[in-house]
C-alpha cells in the first residue's frame, strides 16, 4: 500500500485516463486538437471530475510542463475580490511563451463569489481574454452571474454511474493490493453517492485497518469520519431531547465548522424523507424557509437553527397527540 492520499495519487493525468463524463471528455479533447479553448464553466456536484478535467485539459494542451502555464485559485480561500483581481491581473497580463498563446486560470468554488466580485471578474476576463482563458468551477452554475455565463462554454458534470465508479475503484484496489469483499464495495457505492473523491477516501480509510474490507468496516469508517450527523440531530429533537439536539448543533458549527446554510439544506432534504404525515412536511418546510431567509440576512446560525430544532420537537409532540 502506498502512503499518500490515493485520491490524489490516482487522479488521472490525461483526458484519456478519465473514466466518466464521456461527452464532456470528447469535447475537451476537441479543444486540445484545435489548440484553442474558450472560457469554460465546469458545473456539477463534488467528486465528479471537474478539477481533474481542467487539470487534464491543461496537461494535454501544454504537455508535461503544463504547470508553468496554469494557475489555480480558490474563491473560498482567497480573501476578498481585490486579492483575486490582483493575482489574476499579474498572471493574465504576461503572454505565455511557447506554441500556445494563452495561459489557463482555474478558479475553483467560483459560486462562492459575491455578485460584485463576479462583476469585477467579468471585466478582468474580457480585458485579458487574448492571453488567458478562465475555467470557472462551481457546484451550481445558477450562482454565476448571467454576463459571465454568456461568455463561457458550459459543461455540466453529473454523478458517476455505478459502472464508472466500479471501474475506477477496481483499478485502485488492484494497484494497492486491497482485499475487498463485494459487500464492502457495495457499501462504498452507497455511502459515496457518486462522489468519487469521497469513495476513494473512504476506501483508503477502510483499507488502513489492514483487514479485508466488508460492509461493516466501511460503515464504521464513514461513521467515524462524520460524527456531526444532521439526521442524528433531527432524531434527538424529534425524540423530545431538545438540549441534546442543540448540543449536536453547537458541535457541528463550532467544532466541525459546518456552515448554517449547509445544515439547513440537509435538514430540508431529511424532512421529506421522514416518516411523518404529509401535511407536517409542508408545515416544517415553511418554517425551514423562514429560518433560511433569516440566515441569509445574517442572523446568528445557532440561535436560528435552535428555533428550528424546537419547532421539530414541538412537531413530533403534536404528531403524537394527533393534532
Amino acid at each position: 500500500m502506498s502512503f499518500e492520499m490515493w485520491a490524489e495519487k490516482y487522479r488521472p493525468k490525461s483526458l484519456d485516463g478519465m473514466v466518466n463524463q464521456k461527452e464532456i471528455v470528447e469535447r475537451l479533447k476537441s479543444f486540445v486538437k484545435a489548440r484553442n479553448i474558450p472560457h469554460c464553466i465546469f458545473a456539477g456536484p463534488p467528486g465528479t471530475g471537474k478539477t481533474t478535467g481542467a487539470l487534464c485539459l491543461a496537461h494535454d494542451l501544454y504537455g508535461e510542463g503544463y504547470r508553468e502555464h496554469l494557475m489555480e485559485l480558490n474563491a473560498s480561500d482567497e480573501r476578498g475580490i481585490n486579492v483575486v483581481r490582483e493575482t489574476v491581473k499579474t498572471f493574465a497580463r504576461t503572454r505565455s511563451i511557447g506554441e500556445i498563446p494563452f495561459k489557463i486560470l482555474i478558479l475553483d468554488e467560483a459560486d462562492n463569489m459575491t455578485d460584485d466580485a463576479q462583476q469585477a471578474l467579468r471585466r478582468t476576463m474580457e480585458r485579458f481574454t487574448e492571453t488567458c482563458r478562465f475555467i470557472l468551477i462551481c457546484n451550481y452554475s445558477g450562482k454565476i452571474i448571467e454576463p459571465i455565463q454568456s461568455r463561457c462554454a458550459p459543461f455540466r458534470f453529473t454523478y458517476l454511474s455505478r459502472e464508472d465508479q466500479y471501474a475506477y475503484l477496481q483499478h485502485v484496489i488492484q494497484k494497492e493490493n486491497v482485499k475487498m469483499l463485494d459487500e464492502g464495495l457495495n457499501a462504498i457505492f452507497e455511502v459515496s453517492g457518486g462522489d468519487l473523491r469521497r469513495a476513494v477516501n473512504a476506501l483508503q480509510a477502510a483499507a488502513s485497518a489492514g483487514k479485508p474490507i466488508d460492509a461493516e468496516t466501511v460503515y464504521s469508517v464513514v461513521g467515524r469520519a462524520n460524527p456531526a450527523d444532521v439526521r442524528n440531530m433531527i432524531g434527538l429533537a424529534m425524540k423530545g431531547d431538545f438540549v441534546g439536539a442543540r448540543e449536536k448543533l453547537r458541535e457541528m458549527i463550532l467544532k466541525y465548522g459546518l456552515a448554517g446554510s449547509d445544515i439547513i439544506r440537509q435538514i430540508h432534504i431529511e424532512i421529506f424523507r421522514f416518516n411523518i404525515p404529509e401535511q407536517w412536511k409542508i408545515r416544517l418546510a415553511d418554517t425551514i424557509g423562514e429560518i433560511d431567509f433569516r440566515l441569509v440576512q445574517g442572523a446568528d446560525e445557532e440561535v436560528q437553527l435552535s428555533a428550528l430544532l424546537a419547532r421539530l420537537t414541538e412537531a413530533s409532540y403534536e404528531m403524537k397527540r394527533g393534532v
Binding site: E109, V221, A225, G257, L258
Partner: protein, 420 residues
C-alpha cells in the same frame, strides 16, 4: 459519579488544610490544654468569611487527634430545648469507651433569639458546665447577639488564604482529577472567588469536570461572573414573570449587557420551559430578538434595541403557559461562550491543516478540512505507518500530527515511523 469536588477533595488532615497555620496552632494548643484539666475558656469561637476552611479545620483536627467529633448546626440549637438535648453530651469529659470528644456548633449565625432568650442563652449555659471542648463557628463573632457569649470563648479569627494558597489547593484537586490546568486559568479562578476556597473549587468543577485540559481561554469568560447574582435575579424575573410588564421591568432595573443577557436566556430557556410548545414559542421569540440584533448591527440604529429586549424578556416570559412548575431549576452558565473559547484553537488548527491539504489536493482549505481531514483522521487512528507517509507527503508538523491522531500512544507510533 457527580460527587461535589468540595466534598470529594476535602482535606482530611490538618496538613492538607489551606492557610491559617498560625490560627490552627492556637486552636490545637487550646485542645491540648484540656489534657491538663479544664481550661479557663471552655469554648473556642472560630469566625471569618465563608468558604475558607473553618469547619474543615475542626474536622481535620479531630481526625489528627483521634477525637470523636459531634457536629451540630443551626437547626440543632434553634431553641433552648434543642440545645438542652445535646447539652448532656457536653457535660461528660469522655465518651462511654473512654475516647475524647469535641462538640462543634456550626453556623452559629443561624441561631435565633436575643442574647437573653432562647438558643444563645442555652449555649452559654452549656459552655459554663462543659467538660469537653466546645467549638463555635460563625461568620461574624461581633454580632450584638453574641456579646455575652464572646466572654466565655477563646476568640479565633480565620483569615482568607492568599491567592497562591488557593491556587495551590486547586492544583492539587486538578492533579488528582488528572486535569492539566494552565497556571493563569487557576489564578483567574482563585481571584474571581474572592479567595473563597469552596467557591473556587465549585467553579473549577463546573469548568473542568470531564476534561483533560483547562486553558486560560476556557475560564476568561468568568470575568462576567462578577455579575452572576444580578443576572440570576434578572433570569428569575424573566422566567417567572406573570406578565410582560414584570419581565421588562426587571431588565430596566438591572442594567445588564443585552448581548450577555441574551446568551443567558438562550442557554436556560430549554431547562426552564420543558413543555415543547412553550419552548418553541420561547426559542422563536429569541430568534426574533436575534433578527433585531442583526438589524441593529447592520444599520447602527440603536432605537431598535427596545424590540430586541421586548422579545428576549417579555417574549420568553409569556411563553410559559403549559410548563408545570417543577420546583427550583438551577440556572446554568451560557456554555456557548465557553464553547467558543474552547473550540477556537481547534478551528485554527483545522484551518492550518486544511491549507496543507490544499497545497497537495486541489481543494479549498475549507473543503479539505471538512471533507478530507475526517478520513485522514481515521487513517491516523488505525495505521501509524500510512499516517506517517501521509504526514510526510502533506508536510505536517508534530502539533498537527498530534491533533489528528488524538491518543498519545498513536502519536508516538506515527513519529517513530517518520523517523525510520
Amino acid at each position: 459519579m457527580y460527587a461535589a469536588w468540595t466534598v470529594k477533595h476535602k482535606p482530611r488532615t490538618l496538613a492538607e488544610v489551606v492557610g491559617n497555620e498560625e490560627v490552627i496552632r492556637t486552636l490545637t494548643s487550646w485542645i491540648d490544654s484540656w489534657n491538663k484539666g479544664i481550661p479557663k475558656k471552655r469554648a473556642a469561637f472560630l469566625y471569618g468569611p465563608p468558604g475558607i476552611g473553618k469547619t474543615v479545620a475542626v474536622e481535620a483536627l479531630a481526625h489528627d487527634l483521634k477525637m470523636e467529633l459531634v457536629e451540630k448546626n443551626a437547626s440543632d440549637y434553634r431553641t433552648e430545648e434543642a440545645v438542652q438535648r445535646f447539652a448532656g453530651l457536653a457535660s461528660q469529659y469522655a465518651t462511654l469507651f473512654g475516647g475524647k470528644r469535641i462538640i462543634l456548633l456550626d453556623e452559629l449565625d443561624g441561631i435565633t433569639g436575643t442574647e437573653d432568650r432562647g438558643g444563645v442563652r442555652a449555649v452559654i449555659e452549656t459552655i459554663k458546665t462543659a467538660r469537653c471542648p466546645l467549638i463555635l463557628i460563625a461568620n461574624n463573632a461581633y454580632d450584638p447577639r453574641f456579646s455575652t457569649l464572646r466572654k466565655y470563648c477563646l476568640l479565633i479569627e480565620f483569615k482568607k488564604p492568599t491567592i497562591l494558597q488557593v491556587m495551590k489547593h486547586l492544583k492539587k484537586v486538578c492533579a488528582s482529577e488528572e486535569i492539566m490546568a494552565d497556571e493563569r486559568a487557576l489564578r483567574l479562578i482563585a481571584e474571581r472567588s474572592g479567595r473563597d476556597v469552596r467557591s473556587a473549587i465549585n467553579d473549577l468543577q463546573a469548568l473542568a469536570q470531564g476534561r483533560r485540559r483547562l486553558a486560560y481561554e476556557d475560564v476568561a469568560w468568568l470575568a462576567e461572573r462578577d455579575r452572576k447574582e444580578v443576572i440570576f435575579q434578572v433570569l428569575r424575573s424573566i422566567f417567572y414573570a406573570r406578565d410582560c410588564e414584570e419581565a421588562k421591568r426587571a431588565v430596566d432595573a438591572a442594567d445588564v449587557d443585552p448581548d450577555m443577557l441574551f446568551q443567558w436566556v438562550y442557554e436556560n430557556a430549554p431547562y426552564q420551559l420543558t413543555d415543547p410548545r412553550d419552548l418553541t414559542r420561547a426559542m422563536e421569540a429569541l430568534a426574533r430578538a436575534d433578527v433585531y440584533r442583526g438589524r441593529i448591527r447592520a444599520t447602527q440604529n440603536w432605537k431598535l434595541l427596545r424590540y430586541m429586549l421586548d422579545l428576549m424578556t417579555a417574549g420568553v416570559a409569556i411563553s410559559r403557559q403549559r410548563t408545570k412548575p417543577s420546583g427550583w431549576v438551577p440556572f446554568r452558565f451560557p456554555e456557548r461562550v465557553q464553547w467558543l473559547a474552547r473550540t477556537k484553537q481547534e478551528r485554527e488548527m483545522q484551518k492550518m491543516i486544511g491549507m496543507k491539504i490544499r497545497r497537495r489536493m486541489h481543494v479549498s482549505s475549507v473543503r479539505a478540512a471538512k471533507e478530507i481531514l475526517p478520513y485522514i483522521r481515521v487513517i491516523f487512528e488505525d495505521n501509524a505507518e500510512m499516517a506517517a507517509g501521509i504526514a510526510k507527503w502533506l508536510d505536517l508538523d508534530e502539533d498537527m500530527i498530534s491533533y489528528i491522531a488524538g491518543s498519545e500512544s498513536q502519536v508516538k507510533a506515527i513519529v517513530k515511523n517518520l523517523g525510520g
